[in-house]
């Protein structure tokens, strides 16, 4: 499937190895010299791939830059690595080829001190001014004075007659604490830039300081709206790493609860999106429904927002008849409510005029940014990890993936509504098929010490493609855990979409992404 021969011909100096996908979660590993990186990126860009992730791992002797490429049409996960000198780490920037790399490179620069040649703006992305050390380096490395100067954010130009507006961090429609700097010309936006880091907690560093079990509550704190999906991503990755078999029943319960979580997340988005457009009433209606989801999940997981329900090899506890009963009742209830939402929102002429033809995305844009989730399905790409690389019980259940045509806000709205209906079908199907048996794997070691190696594992969160990359060094603590979060690459398309828009449209576009800021900031 993957053209190794072709790649070998193109990059004769590279070491190319085929990787068992079932075990490691990617197909090919390519080790190249750092000078070849732009060529490699260019090749993959021409093949129609997108940059799934870009990060760095500190192996003490060397720093390893890891590029993950993927394709929207078929699973085609390729890891490209390059070694950097830990004393003077430099690498060529690929932000001209994949625009999203602009932000990934800034992140690596502030966390590892890697200098990217040709990058226009290597300022702080998440961190606060005045951090003395590169936080993700294994050995303390001091930030040089030269680098400190480079990291200081440049104040927006104070030319005469330019109108700068801060949208956030304390703003009603930035969903938490995102900040966007807008350069305005009257009502029009000339230039926009998101400023991140107001909720940065460095989960990736936390992961390097605690065992796999101890990290269990953390993923739910990254994305509080899709906490179970994040929980599952972590659990699934570690299970794969350690080779733990999960009982059938647990897989089904995971599917049911994750879909409930997805519905809850989409419902909240619906309310928030309408609130961004100035209609406040739907917010309360969706909360009414979401409350039911929370009640159901609370009864089995014990929490209402930041769930940590899945355990390695299964679940924290089994579901009972009451859970099934309540879920069935909820399915009936929500199905009856869609009609009301359609009458209240979809048919409203003001709503239609506000969302139709606004924030149009196309496939080329999506590939440059590596966006995922409902945002890209609106352009007509049926890309969904649940279908492309099935996990849990999704491989047994048949469901469709709704897609749009225009890639505008209206499509994103319709897709999320449709996805809720489909989630209901999935839940119903999973409940019907729910097998008996144990809910947790037996004979698990007390201390998890996964074998040496690395692994990529992906999950479809309500916002898109969520990836966990773990490097294990045979201890009970992960050597490096990287979280590739979907909102990150979705949000970064905002400056491009907002340019030239009216401010009201920009707010609608921002709302249509369904961003969760703590997930982006991690």
């Amino acid at each position: 499937m993957v053209e190794i021969e072709e790649l070998k011909r193109l990059f004769p100096r590279a070491e190319i190895a085929e990787i068992p996908y079932e075990e490691r979660g990617y197909h090919l590993s390519i080790a190249v010299e750092k000078g070849d990186i732009p060529d490699v990126a260019d090749t993959f860009a021409k093949k129609g791939c997108y940059l799934f992730d870009l990060f760095c791992v500190d192996y003490l002797d060397f720093l390893e830059l890891v590029y993950f490429f993927n394709n929207h049409s078929a699973p085609y996960r390729i890891k490209v690595t390059t070694k950097l000198d830990p004393e003077q780490p430099t690498a060529p920037s690929i932000s001209r080829i994949f625009t999203i790399a602009h932000w990934y490179e800034r992140e690596i620069h502030e966390f590892f001190g890697v200098f990217f040649e040709g990058h226009p703006n290597l300022t702080y992305l998440f961190l606060h001014e005045g951090i003395d050390f590169y936080p993700l380096r294994k050995k303390q490395v001091k930030v040089s004075e030269e680098d400190k100067k480079r990291l200081m954010p440049k104040p927006p130009g104070e030319e005469e007659d330019t109108f700068f507006i801060n949208l956030g961090p304390q703003h009603p429609s930035t969903h938490g604490v995102l900040r966007v700097i807008l350069k305005m010309d009257g009502e029009y936006i000339l230039w926009a830039e998101p400023v991140l880091g107001y909720l940065h907690r460095m989960h990736e560093k936390m992961a390097e300081n605690r065992t796999y079990q101890q990290f269990l509550p953390n993923p739910g704190r990254m994305d509080y709206m899709g906490a179970l999906n994040f929980n599952l991503a972590h659990v699934k990755a570690v299970e794969k790493l350690c080779g733990i078999e999960v009982p059938e029943r647990a897989e089904y319960v995971r599917t049911i609860t994750c879909e409930l979580n997805r519905i809850g997340s989409h419902l909240l988005w619906l309310g928030a999106f309408l609130a961004d457009l100035g209609g406040l009433t739907p917010f309360l209606y969706v909360f009414d429904d979401r409350e039911q989801v929370l009640d159901i999940l609370e009864a089995v997981t014990g929490s209402r927002l930041t769930y940590s329900y899945f355990r390695f090899g299964g679940l924290y506890n089994d579901v009972d008849g009451e859970f099934i009963e309540k879920t069935k009742r909820f399915i009936e209830r929500l199905r009856g409510r869609f009609d009301m939402y359609n009458r209240l929102i979809t048919g409203n002429v003001i709503f239609i005029n506000r969302v139709k033809g606004v924030g149009i995305m196309d496939e080329a844009l999506i590939r440059r940014y590596g966006s995922s989730g409902p945002v890209i399905r609106s352009t007509g790409l049926p890309y969904d990890i649940r279908k492309k690389e099935p996990y849990a019980a999704y491989r047994d259940i048949d469901f469709e993936i709704p897609t749009g045509v225009n890639g505008d806000n209206m499509d994103r709205y319709m897709i999320r509504l449709k996805e809720m209906e489909i989630s209901l079908n999935i839940i119903e199907e999973a409940i019907n098929r729910l097998p008996d048996g144990p809910y947790r794997a037996e004979k698990l070691p007390k201390k998890l010490k996964p074998p040496k190696g690395d692994l990529l594992s992906t999950v479809e969160s309500p916002r898109g493609e969520l990836g966990v990359y773990i490097v294990s060094d045979e201890t009970e603590i992960p050597y490096r855990m990287r979280w590739r979060v979907p909102s990150y690459s979705n949000l970064m398309t905002f400056p491009e979409l907002a340019r030239g828009c009216l401010i009201a449209d920009a707010i609608a576009i921002l709302g249509s992404y369904d961003i969760v800021v703590p997930e982006i900031d991690r």
């Binding site: 109108f163 700068f164 507006i165 703003h171 009603p172 429609s173 009257g186 009502e187 309408l274 609130a275 961004d276 457009l277 100035g278 209609g279 406040l280 009433t281 917010f283 309360l284 209606y285 009414d288 409203n348 003001i350 709503f351 005029n353 506000r354 009216l502 401010i503 009201a504 449209d505 707010i507």
Partner: protein
């Protein structure tokens, strides 16, 4: 008691007494109206959103607005450093003048009118332009970017909707041949004008909602875009005065609609003022209803709706009415 009144009338003249009593009555009405509308807004919002809304303070939460206003009275008056102090202080004062003056000519019942000025409706329209000025002064004086955008929007919006507002009222004037509000009400003895002129009524009402900056036309204070628009920098009692003016404005827009299209104080059995208040508050309720049902329109849509639809339709309506009157 009657003796005292008689002596008072003789001493200061009937006219003056009328003005003084009217003034007291109007001030009481304005305060009660604002208090009741804040309560009603919360209640309407609550019930439309399937919740109960204010209920703890007093029966059905009726005392809540009083508690709120007392709380606002005790809030610090923050004057940000960078504001233009004169404009910043002046804006809330100016915003209240037009709403109070409008009450001079509104006929609440037969004879229940402070003064029947023969160009009554012009007084209301002329003074209502002042409220735009106050919003612009507030936005500019605040030296805040959100306020400035809100203020600029407010001006554009108010001028866009003033033309259809004038045109729709003009149609009634052309039918009656008088600018006095009392004459207009009396002319509806046979039939309310809403039945002759449903389009003019609709245009007036839409333009009226836009003039009061209410959803779906609440762009000057668009919360999700401009935080709080022109009154971002206002807090405490100064904010409360903007609030008071806004709610009084809603009532005036509804009262004028009642006078021009719904027969004013006319109605069987009940006294005139009761009919007047019933009709007015029904329209007020509709305006509240809009807010909790519609999303906000975009700015270009807002302006173009007025220039491309409301104004041409008003013109056609005016010509047709003029033609029919000549038949």
């Amino acid at each position: 008691m009657t003796d005292v009144l008689k002596i008072a009338v003789e001493a200061i003249g009937q006219d003056t007494l009328r003005v003084i009593l009217g003034l007291i009555g109007v001030l009481i009405l304005v305060v009660i109206n604002a208090l009741m509308l804040t309560w009603a807004e919360r209640k309407v919002a609550g019930h439309m959103q399937r919740r109960i809304a204010a209920k703890e303070v007093g029966p059905f939460g009726l005392i809540q607005p009083i508690a709120d206003s007392l709380k606002l009275l005790g809030k610090e008056l923050i004057t940000p450093m960078k504001v233009d102090r004169v404009l910043y202080f002046l804006a809330p004062v100016i915003c209240f003048i037009p709403v109070l003056v409008s009450f001079v000519v509104i006929p609440f019942g037969e004879g229940l009118q402070v003064r029947d000025i023969n160009v009554g409706i012009l007084v209301i329209l002329a003074f209502s332009s002042l409220s735009v000025l106050s919003i612009f002064i507030a936005g500019w004086g605040s030296n805040n970017k959100y306020s400035l955008i809100g203020a600029a929007r407010s001006v554009a919006q108010n001028i866009a909707y003033e033309v259809p507002l004038l045109l729709s009222l003009l149609i009634v004037v052309i039918m009656v041949g008088s600018l006095s509000l009392k004459d207009i009400v009396e002319a509806q003895k046979g039939m309310w004008f809403i039945l002759y002129q449903p389009i003019a009524f609709l245009i007036y009402f839409i333009a009226g909602v836009a003039e009061t900056n209410r959803t779906p036309f609440d762009l000057p204070e668009a919360e999700s875009e401009l935080v709080a628009g022109f009154h971002t920098e206002y807090s405490g009692m100064r904010f409360a005065i903007f609030f008071l003016a806004e709610y009084t404005n809603i009532m005036i827009i509804s009262a004028v609609a009642t006078t021009f299209f719904l027969g004013g104080y006319l109605g069987p059995y009940l006294p005139g003022i009761v009919w007047f208040l019933i009709k007015t508050y029904f329209l007020v309720f509709v305006i509240l209803w809009f807010r909790w049902t519609f999303p906000r329109v975009r700015f270009d849509q807002l302006l173009n709706f007025s220039w491309k639809i409301l104004i041409p339709v008003s013109f056609i309506n005016l010509i047709v009415t003029g033609g029919i009157l000549k038949l």
